[in-house]
Amino acid sequence: MVWRRIGSLVLIGLLGALLTSMIIPTLPGRADLVIGNGTDPGSLHPHRATGIPEGRIIRAIHEGLLLLDPATLEPIPGCAEAWTVSATGTRYRFQVQQGLTWSDGSPLDARDFQRSWLDLIDPLQGAPYGDLLEGLVGAKDWRSGKGSRSDVAIRCIGHHVLEVDFEHPIPWFPYLCAQTPLQPVHPDADGRAGVGVPTNGPWFLTQWNLRDRIRIETNPHYRGPARPKLATIDFLAVESGNTQLNFFAAGMSDWTVRVPTPAIPVLRSDENWSGKWRADPYLGIRFYRLNLQRPPLDDPAIRRALSLSIDRQQLCQEVLGGDPEPAYGFVPWPAPAIERQRQKLADRGITEQLLPVLPHYQGMALARHNDDTISAIPSAEIDPDHWPALGYDPQLARDLLQQAGWQVPGNPQGRPIPRLEMLHPSGGTNSIVAEWLQLSWKKQLGLETRIRAMEWRSFLDVQRAVDYDLSRSSWIADYPDPATFLTLFTSDAPNSRTGWSHPEYDRLVAEALAQTDVVSRNKLWQQAESILLESGPILPLWSMTSNNLVSQQVTGFWPNPLDQHDLRSIDRRSP
């Protein structure tokens, strides 16, 4: 009796162990590099992907016509061995390398790029980033139903030359050729990606365990210019920043892109961590959108006062952990901010050169002058030491309000300012920043605000309907050019979400887009940015940093403003 019971217990135990081993995937050892990649990726199809975690994987398993130099971000040969641009800046011609193949060994040539790009533009395909190629001759007409696929100016000359024509010069087009949406898609992909769908990058997908990890391994058919150093790479899908940090601390990942904000001051100052923590200038801006159609925000005095009573330096230092820099313009990281970031890194013993985020553009900053006037000036004229307090003057803010007939602390005459509502998505630093702003405005201006936190999708819904007073926002560059920021607020822009419309601003943006000369073009961008800052619907807060925690065993990791790190150049030393 006893033996039978023991026997059945042993049997159950064995069965359980068998089941367990079937459910837990067996990985053939640790990958050469493990990346804590943030959230579980959505689609890995180049035309359907929208997020940053997806892009990191897609650029490793695909190769575009061009790549970006990992250190300088300059476009370099990828599938195209050479390229030329016409004097008008509107015609690009690419010489596609001979003998290229997909990861299944089948041939790949210029026609695959032609087909993939046309699919990207195809209005019926619904590719979220199809508008990146709308500047091509014939593309806009096709997308608006007036033309057809054959009218779009993407031509193959033979099998190895690809030529495209744009309506206007698109100086950032070589950068786009390295980005996710312009990667070639296999003819049999049929809208899907995954294990078994051929790709053309140095690695190919071998495992996709949902909510766990994606593994890529070297593609034996790869004939591209940059031979990868790592044979296997794992991308961990981990939602929680705390868990990501745990993985990294336990040596189970070598590079992580998401850490909890409260940990940042420790990462910056603790000697075990500070050499691994990278917070580099990133082409992204955090700001609040203002609804100018609602009183009292239609009054410029209120908008100026709100901006002048924010001590952005304190916000960056005390609330955000010290890495971001105050923003007074809409195009992030002007020269003084970069210089301050360089000093901060040098204080931590990191002396690498920081690239300017935009090589040719000097952004504008809304600054208070000695005569108490406020206007936008080129940020290059500002001393980095004056940068932190450039736009902070609560006394001037109160004076402006009083002159405009509003009630301020210490002066009960005037109309009371109606209560404003601040809308933000829940999670992250959003609520602590909103509370800090609420407190500042209450203290400095006596202004009452209400904070409304909403779940992400509901928040987007309300923001899109412009049903808010102030709404938390951010914008990240699609390509390194001021156009990616300054086209956001034209009257016909799909993502303006403010109802703001300024004919002169629209005109300047259109003129800048059509201009080929770099100097004249930048002058036009500066004029447009000045209008946006002086009368537009935004309250810039800070220039964003890329947040990477990278093991010191990892080599070939270069900081850059797009936070794109070509895995072809990365290696990992043995401990």
Binding site: A193, N242, A249
Partner: protein, 294 residues
Amino acid sequence: MTIWAVFTISFFIVRAAPGGPFDEERDPPADVKRAIEQRYNLDAPLWVQYLDQLGGWLLLDPGPSLRQPDHDVASILAAGLPVSLLLGGLALILGTTVGILLGVLAAYRVGSWLDHGVVVIASIGISLPLYVIAGILVLSISFGLGWLPPAGWQSASSLILPVLCLSLAPAAQAARLVRSGLVEMATEEFARTAYAKGNGSFSVLIRHCLRPALIPLISTLGPTAAALLTGSLVIEQIFAIPGVGMHFIQGAMNRDYPLVLGAVLLYTVLLQVLTLLGDLLLLTIDPRLREQDR
């Protein structure tokens, strides 16, 4: 019938939530968004979409996830279910076994420090939030002692911490139920008869009182098991475990309609099956219930 009602109610609740699956900070142009919605039939009238989804589920083919279109909803759930079942199952077995042992010990020495200790531990186990327990365990066992990985899903050792965390609440509940059951049974007439026959108090507890004392525990097993499976969301997030729970939460956040419906349906079926199993178990252990049926 229940499943259909749950499906219908969930379908309309999910669709009433503001925002859509393809909303981003950078929205595509309006006509592109229309084309995407057309691809997933989201532009059809709601009742058409309802019938469409219902038909899909009846054939067990609800189509692709909206956020992860490279995967079908059915395969996403099929990949997560064994993980959640394993985690929940092990936690239930471990928790109940430990709980019964503690309950017996406490009842054997009612009023002693052992008894008080078990009651205090049980109260803590029930009241402490999972993320606090998980944090303490990760800090002490993974980083303090370096014995186990702090998270992940790659070997049997990565199961230990999450199962431990998850089993605390059922262990505490089982200990309390078994202890109070045994204390009550020990005063019953059959127990006194057993004592009178000269049996030792431990033997009376185990051989005579334990079986009837387990009945309250067993009647809660079905709901407890269901709660373990559905309640492992927090643990799945902290330990990065690819179970169904995360799909449920993320599906709702991403407005991934077919995935949320799939997760809701799966949980409904699980809840019903587990409750049924609990009832059957009760029937096998308690002869009085079988008597009533006759």
